[in-house]
Symmetry: C4
Subunit: 455 residues, 4 copies
Amino acid sequence: DNEWMGRIISPVDYKYRRWEEFMGFLMIYYAWAYPFEIAFLKAPSLSGLQIAGTIVDLFFVMDIVCTFFVAYNDKTTGLLVNDSRKIALRYLSTWFVLDLVSTLPYEALGYLITGKTKMALPYYLLRALRFWHLGKVKQLFKRLEKDTRFSYFFVRCAGLLFVTLLSVHSAGCLYYLLADGYPHQGKTWIGSAISNFREENLWSRYISAIYWSITTMTTVGYGDLHAVNTRERVFGIFYMLYNLFLSVYLIGNMTVLVVEGARRTMEFRSNIQAASDFIARNHLAPDLKEKILTYMCLRFKAEALTQNQLIEQMPKSIRESICQTLYLPTVEKVYLFKGVSKKMLLLLVADMKTLYIPPGEDVILQNEPTQYVYIVVSGELMIINCDNDEENIVGKLTNGDIFGEVGGLCCKPQGFTFRTKTLSQILKLKTSDLTKAMETRPEDNTLILQNFGHV
Amino acid sequence: DNEWMGRIISPVDYKYRRWEEFMGFLMIYYAWAYPFEIAFLKAPSLSGLQIAGTIVDLFFVMDIVCTFFVAYNDKTTGLLVNDSRKIALRYLSTWFVLDLVSTLPYEALGYLITGKTKMALPYYLLRALRFWHLGKVKQLFKRLEKDTRFSYFFVRCAGLLFVTLLSVHSAGCLYYLLADGYPHQGKTWIGSAISNFREENLWSRYISAIYWSITTMTTVGYGDLHAVNTRERVFGIFYMLYNLFLSVYLIGNMTVLVVEGARRTMEFRSNIQAASDFIARNHLAPDLKEKILTYMCLRFKAEALTQNQLIEQMPKSIRESICQTLYLPTVEKVYLFKGVSKKMLLLLVADMKTLYIPPGEDVILQNEPTQYVYIVVSGELMIINCDNDEENIVGKLTNGDIFGEVGGLCCKPQGFTFRTKTLSQILKLKTSDLTKAMETRPEDNTLILQNFGHV
Amino acid sequence: DNEWMGRIISPVDYKYRRWEEFMGFLMIYYAWAYPFEIAFLKAPSLSGLQIAGTIVDLFFVMDIVCTFFVAYNDKTTGLLVNDSRKIALRYLSTWFVLDLVSTLPYEALGYLITGKTKMALPYYLLRALRFWHLGKVKQLFKRLEKDTRFSYFFVRCAGLLFVTLLSVHSAGCLYYLLADGYPHQGKTWIGSAISNFREENLWSRYISAIYWSITTMTTVGYGDLHAVNTRERVFGIFYMLYNLFLSVYLIGNMTVLVVEGARRTMEFRSNIQAASDFIARNHLAPDLKEKILTYMCLRFKAEALTQNQLIEQMPKSIRESICQTLYLPTVEKVYLFKGVSKKMLLLLVADMKTLYIPPGEDVILQNEPTQYVYIVVSGELMIINCDNDEENIVGKLTNGDIFGEVGGLCCKPQGFTFRTKTLSQILKLKTSDLTKAMETRPEDNTLILQNFGHV
Amino acid sequence: DNEWMGRIISPVDYKYRRWEEFMGFLMIYYAWAYPFEIAFLKAPSLSGLQIAGTIVDLFFVMDIVCTFFVAYNDKTTGLLVNDSRKIALRYLSTWFVLDLVSTLPYEALGYLITGKTKMALPYYLLRALRFWHLGKVKQLFKRLEKDTRFSYFFVRCAGLLFVTLLSVHSAGCLYYLLADGYPHQGKTWIGSAISNFREENLWSRYISAIYWSITTMTTVGYGDLHAVNTRERVFGIFYMLYNLFLSVYLIGNMTVLVVEGARRTMEFRSNIQAASDFIARNHLAPDLKEKILTYMCLRFKAEALTQNQLIEQMPKSIRESICQTLYLPTVEKVYLFKGVSKKMLLLLVADMKTLYIPPGEDVILQNEPTQYVYIVVSGELMIINCDNDEENIVGKLTNGDIFGEVGGLCCKPQGFTFRTKTLSQILKLKTSDLTKAMETRPEDNTLILQNFGHV
């Protein structure tokens, strides 16, 4: 266990995850820098890029060393392997050679041997092997997608944008490389537009390449820059085919995102539309129409707030913690539970449920038997007496008030109607759960009945 | 409370909402006028636009003043804040500076100081800050989307069209600005097509810019107008990238709209298809096939009409109002309830449900016990006697007729079969609900039994 | 009633529907011919088109006359209005003027007055009013969509294709008209490609216009033909904007169609995938794997065949007809019902349900009590005895065989296991339904019990 | 039966399916080779292609012969027809003529008659009839789609890619054919770019054609190669129209694939999002937040593993085999069943269900009556005593341990709480099922009670 703590790194370790994210961002840089370097290989003034490249190489060396100390999940057993020998063996037999070959400092080695500082194309191609690590960028985006701090929509868009930009950039650089390496300078895509293009400044050449690339990618295809020789046409054919599938993929993904985003609005609309149709077909009066539509809007809002379902699927321990945090402050205020032991209250809150009720709804109807006790958390309710076929408001309830306890504890029908005045959050407790809890704790039972008697 | 009524405006106030909508339309105008002005800055004959611009500025000043008096919803508590000091503080610490800077009359100030009437570019850029208010246009569309007087499909399309047109217009204007400001007139996108383009008339130049813009946006890309210098290419690159995501977004949105619109037809089709397959597989006779398909069509129509679900989710008070409006006129006609008190009728209609039944369906079968009483609202039913293994039509029922009451009140099986002849709207009332209501009101009970006995 | 039969035509009349369809096809022709005529107005050799046009006009006159005799559905009451005066009034106050103005033979009138045969442009524009009747084409497609003889996919595609082609054709013709009417022949889209284009033959000019139109519509935009003057550019701008929304609409519709088509395959795939994952995770043996996958495939097939749901939603009269056609021939063969009255059999088949059971499933298990009697319609079942912990096949069942009746009628557990050997169609009948039917008809009861006793 | 084995081939025969797949691949080759040959007909150096073509023809001849011996499913009865005379008649009356005409060696016949080796165009067109067999390629893809060894996503993409490539290739070849056959060489699409194009090498001409084709297909439309004469424009019009629908179809299909792939992630995201919203709205403490989110993640994982539903829909025989393989090894280890007969164990495992329970959940609560016995398959559980209002861990359970048997067999409440420590796989058995099984086998009953008593 000691060794584990000292030398082997867990893959879910906080610091290692940061390192992985950092390597992800490095890969993004590399994915941009590599095609650029290879295309404008002969340019003399890229010293800034080369220094950056060396630093990136150093980090990749560190990552290689690091990988020897990171535990891994065995695919077949699902268990974490933290034996350093097994880790090393696995890495050596899989990715190590690729990583090494793509990271070796060919330029420095070349300088030591031949005395020249230019890197040859074959060595550059070996470095392309590092693109296997693009998976790290994918992993980075996957992690961001699941991180609820960021909008799923924007992370997904950023991912799609990254893929698009990488394609455009790489294709543009390769396309320039094709023209640069063609024997007849005038018979290239860039040469037919700018004679002596090799003397142009770097920025202008790069922009031309990217301009062609994005013109093709977005299928605008002005035609001012286009393939001239067969080699370029073949490249163009493959690029266009790739773009076809990329753009189709982009569209598919975007549709999914938009569908998800529009779903709730659609649902709301179709409910409202159904209500409107109903009103129009039956020629209901304008004030009734207004009432119905207002109610529908509020109900939609209230539904979004209720989350009993979420609480219910939690295990018991978590559920209890949540209920204490949410309901205890309100329940302690209720006159019925004055002086009652905290243990009793905890028992009760564990059984409570939250309701969000839009205004104008009757929670309890006069003279109806009820099996629930209700506690108001927020909002306002009216107590209504409809004895003489007229409705008289006889009181109101706010935070910390309880109602339904008369019917519940005395087993007689409710004396008044309770109607919400504003959007109200209410706790609901089964009367049977309350009486059962009271039976198990005689001292609290006495207290509650005393409190109840005092009213 | 007095102050509230006098000086503070509620954000849901009818007049203020109209004002907000008006500001939304002003923003639409501004979004069009601003890029146009900035691009064709040097044109001498835009006096009309400048006057309009001054008027728009005045309205924006009024909006700034107005905002000091509009209550706002606190995000954390969800409550409306109507304390004028808090409102002012909040506005001053958030949007005020931006609004002020983007509305100051630089031209007039400049004239006062320097005596020149031309506005400089930096001041124009400051005015671009007002584009933050595009949110008001979004709000305008959101409100229209929820307004059921307009088709959701068209409001949404209009919104997408607005975004598209704004993009095309802005990009066109900026693109012209790039060419106008380029030192070498011939090496610009417009100069390479029209030499001495600055002497062309305004309309022709504007149309050229918009033509390029929309050609690029829709990816048509004829290539007759295209970027020539590096600066224009960089602009083109960003514009095409933006368009890629815009068009993908358009497609996604349209798909959602079409899906929603086609859902019900699809459902109907797949039902009819299933029936057709069934008929073909089992070689059913043509007349049976015709019957089945006709029934399926009518059932689909009837389903769309039934909206008990909608009524049931309303709170009790609304539900009662609806039932009275819809059912009372019919129920009053029924012979059984002649002379019965209105209170009794109200009790009964609250428990009724509407059914839409396609023709040819049996509502009650002969000799079967039934727990419901039915009242015909519209359509026609046949009374059928099938005693001798033959079906004889012995009568028909229309609006205001009741059936099932014999079985319900005498507890004996129904004497006839009741079958719909046309698409019929029928009220359904549980017999138990009827008898319960009768028990609570003895005088009405007597009347109903008398009415029943007279038949 | 006599008048109704004699002079007023019902809108759902078979012959009238045929006429409406014919008018729909005429409208399709007109939608093609009108833009063509207007664009190539000056061409001398369109006599064929003019003759066809006159014939079409005659049919439209007939339709105008016809409309005076067609009953209509009142929108507010939903009732059919067949009062000829009301019909005439309604038509005269709505569409009549439009129809008349767009059908008047201006050319003939003009010839009578001026003596010239050329029609002027204003008269052509009046004829464009007839495009309001494009709704007839829409109606035609709507009707075809609901006709299950044609694939929904292809009718929908044909509809989309029609809209596309109409757009392309109309835009092409209008674009040519723009060039034809431009004062400076060389500064037009076609004139800059072909000088003296007016001398070209008609076919070549038409194809050029359509070629430009479709190149723009599909956003290919080669640029060999493109707008040259401002007027053409304005036209192009609107056409491209229109195309943007059209193509987005096409994509949305196609996605919906593909989604609907792929749904069932997707479902099947995900079931099979779940089974495969399960097998792989638990390392099940290859023969068990084969068994599971085969069963899944067969079950999917069997599910598609079962359509009890469909039968159950039919009204009783139709349901009885279906059951008689499907089940009676098989039930009559069963030994138990030999000699039993047809009335009894009809009672029984009305209560039966079809099952499609994939091979290898146990319908009844040995020693288990059963509440159903089963009759084999098609396929084969094995009777299996598993007394000594070994399974012995002791018999087989095919069409017309009954099983489960021993357990059902004698109230003792089933003596054998019954397992399907092939995909089998089986009728299921509740034993209680059987005994209830037997009780109501004593003579059949005796017969059945005799038949049962003979075995 | 003998004849069947000897000469008639079943269509589901393993070898025949391989042959069909092979013919599918041959058709893919043919679909590529045929347009190529027909376009570059006059090229002298295609001897390689011609040899390959002859070999392909031989295989098609073999397939024709083969088809005479393959049984077929009768569409109306659904039965397999293996009568060789019926098979031959059916083939002769349907596809045979087409197959023969498209396979006849016209070149060889022509050489025998005229002495020339060039094949004429009419004969080539006859060979196009073989394209009816493209259905074999469709069948090949359909089969691959249902094969779970391959990703559905990639098989579907490959199918779409095949259609796209075939379209591009065929259109390119036909387009070249048009230019090649045009009388005026300079007025063709290729001739206007390369004068004397017929002298160009084959590769360059082919690439030019494909380049044009794909430029048009993807709607890039550079315009460097474009239709010049009317004939080419007509071809272009149809090709673009075809492409419009193809690309729309591609987009629709891709959307469906992406939707399916993203569904589960979306679901997970929206659950996590709902939890996050809940936490933020109620200001829950960070440690509670961490607990809730961790639990949600684990639960999502556990749900994916549970597959009782899958097992339950299997027929009894398969279900038993699965249960034995999965549960018997664990159940044999349980102390309670030591020495018990295998038959008894088989009875028990048939009634067991698997649960995957995320860590921290209480399986049994102290003092609660339980109706289940649980056996641990994998993972770890804690035994917790909460007598003095404190939770003490008094033991732990791993693979092969049983719990809940005290409460189940003695009918007294459970003495401890059992809580999962890691993600655990647990077998659940109803106590009533256990006691019923024990009753039927007295000797095993004694053993189990003995085992139970020893503890």
